[in-house]
Symmetry: none
Subunit: 226 residues, 4 copies
DNA sequence: CATGAATGAGATTTCATTCAT
DNA sequence: TATGAATGAAATCTCATTCAT
């Protein structure tokens, strides 16, 4: 048995000690695997190999597969949560601006980043991991829904929007963003027509803002849509 | 245990249940299991038990787990496909009516029915079953997208809609319906706020149709929105 | 892969169905293994091979190794318990006769039978299986101790024995029997001097009965010791 | 973490504990673990933790688990062997006194000391460690048996005892002592009736000595047994 | 000397699949 | 057709052992 192994095209020594880096590397590798094959479909051997370690090392940092899964969701989400939800707390008073800014943030943070696989993972495994489902509801869905529904609500109150149910409108607003994230990690790669998520989202907001505009052609109002 | 029982002096088959129903029962049971736990997370034992048969019987009708999975998706989809896609071929010339009618159809066929778990299943397993992914793209996504994008396109041409990209607008239209279906089979059960999918969809169409309406200045326009 | 396997020198078909026989065969095989190597030292593979089945079959009947172990102790003990403890309920009024008869029974049931490995097993694994320890105390040690201590007690009351502590005398009585059982399954096989357990026990009872005889040379008493 | 710490202005070795003590500490810790869980059931990690060191350190002193086990039995036994067996070589000519003194010694050295777990360990692992079995037979069982059997033999020759088989009588004599040691380290802790080993042994010797006493009537008899 | 991260062989356990009945 | 005992490959998990620091 040789003294060296090839990892990602690079020859490395066995027995390299990198305590601090390991857990994060394993979590990253696991995220990829879980996203590709789901929880049950992922073999710890694959996670280990992808992380450039052996199975034993995975168990050095995570007591079992289930805890690794939870760690993956949490760890992948947590560092972004503050920034994303913090990003929502933008200043603009105008509800449309608030929403648009939030969407810029969300789509920037979500689409095309590894974070985008999390929704798929959570949706797919909610049945097996109620704990994760609730965590995601509390920490992600809840705040985002609160922020957007509140913005819509204020838009209605301030006369920028028609009288709509803010909670239902929330789905109208958010669904295409989520769908784009799911698409990229499921059917997208098998589809021949590529989806330009950012462009789609731009037009989406445009349509929805017009759809939310007050009934009467409020005289003197200037709709500015980029 | 013998193959026959004597009932009232007559020898009868022990299992009188129509044997032709068996495969369908197994598929139905499998759909539930796959939807709950995913492909790899589902044990054939569970499928069998839920179908009221034994594992061996499953293998009588399906050569292996993978084929059972494909059968589930196909069989669950196929009997609806014609009706749904046929239903899309509704007559109304007015694009908004066409779309509205299609949505009535789709949400009626999807939300709250066992069919609603299919999208989740396909999204979750697309990585493991490219064949299924392509089948779903070809047989479901494609036609629906073609129909809706075409309706939008014609709406634009006929002056009912503003000039929008029909492919992108398709996502704006369809996303909340899909999201509702996913929600019901993943996070919904863990959320304390129930989602009234039909009501949401109604308002959604309302918003989108207004958002697609041509620029206001054209006087003499008759917006008819229920 | 051949259609036949060699089990115990005999060629047998694979896939022989013997539902009723299996659990007992597995328990018997496991008893041997556990007795030889202890709980942790026993590989389920060995148990399976010795029982002429595969690992999977073991798990068909026992949920895990621990339950198999408990089953082994219980099942090995239970069928003998009634007979052994029942055998204690001998009729003779004379305490010495009661005790002697009980010892005949116990040594007949214990020495040289597979039952003899149980004490070793229980002693060795009491630390890991408190449940087994208590079971053995309750079901085996308790009754035997009660019977013998009671016989001694009555012997004292009736004037057949000196005034001794029956509980302590119980150890004097029983220890060599137990030691013989332990010996046969541990050091005995490595010793060059074979131990004739039955003979040893005979002399043991002789010594102890004399040692328990009342102080004064009770006139007219006839000690009959074989 | 540096190898040195500054204490009161002076640089001192961080680990001031005598390094010579380490192996003994590890052996002591291992004895406890092996006694509790058996050889295979003991994790080197536990041994290390109990000894206040790390696994690596164990390997500094013992080439592997098996050697550690052998070392435990040997090291635990050896320092006592001389004293115990030496103690047996007591002066008294009277065989009963010789035996009683030996028992005082043995029960003092065995009961309630860490030495008492060795018999359990040896009995439990004799199957896996024939070498240990033979070592124990040669170094412990042999000398003790020789001493006691010889004492009994001489007792018979000198007319202090009846004509008995010394080898069998050896078991009658020693069994309760051994049983007490086993009991304390296996079932005893799970029993609600505590065993006063010393008291039991006292009465035991009393009974056995009486049981070995020559037949009353024959004054001046000299029993000679082959 | 001592550490403890990393290893990898081997154990337990699961479960899709087979096949005698 | 239906069963379910039996299989065996592959998964998860454990832990004695190694070695860079």
């Amino acid at each position: 048995m040789g003294e060296h192994v090839e990892v990602g095209g690079k020859v490395e020594k066995r027995w390299t000690r990198r305590k601090d880096a390991r857990p994060a590397e394993i979590v990253a590798a696991a995220l990829d695997c879980f996203a590709e094959r789901g929880f049950a479909g992922t073999r710890l051997d694959d996670v280990a190999r992808r992380a450039g370690v052996t199975k034993g090392t995975v168990y050095l940092y995570f007591p079992n597969k289930e805890e690794l899964f939870k760690a993956v969701v949490r760890e992948t989400l947590l560092p972004h949560l503050d920034r994303v939800l913090g990003g929502l707390e933008g200043t603009p008073e105008d509800p449309r601006e608030r929403i648009r800014q939030a969407f810029d943030f969300l789509s920037g943070k979500l689409l095309g980043t590894p974070l985008a696989v999390i929704p798929k993972l959570v949706i797919a495994e909610a049945g097996n991991f109620p704990e994760i489902a609730r965590f995601y509801l509390d920490e992600v869905v809840g705040p985002v829904r609160a922020f957007l529904a509140d913005a819509i609500h204020r838009g209605v109150e301030l006369g920028h929007f028609r009288a709509v149910d803010p909670d239902h409108a929330f789905y109208t607003l958010i669904a295409p963003l989520l769908l784009a994230a799911l698409w990229q990690n499921s059917l997208g790669p098998h589809d021949d027509r590529p989806l330009d998520g950012a462009a789609m989202i731009r037009q989406h907001l445009d349509i929805v803002f017009r759809g939310l505009a007050p009934e009467a052609p409020a005289p003197g109002r200037k709709e500015r849509l980029p």
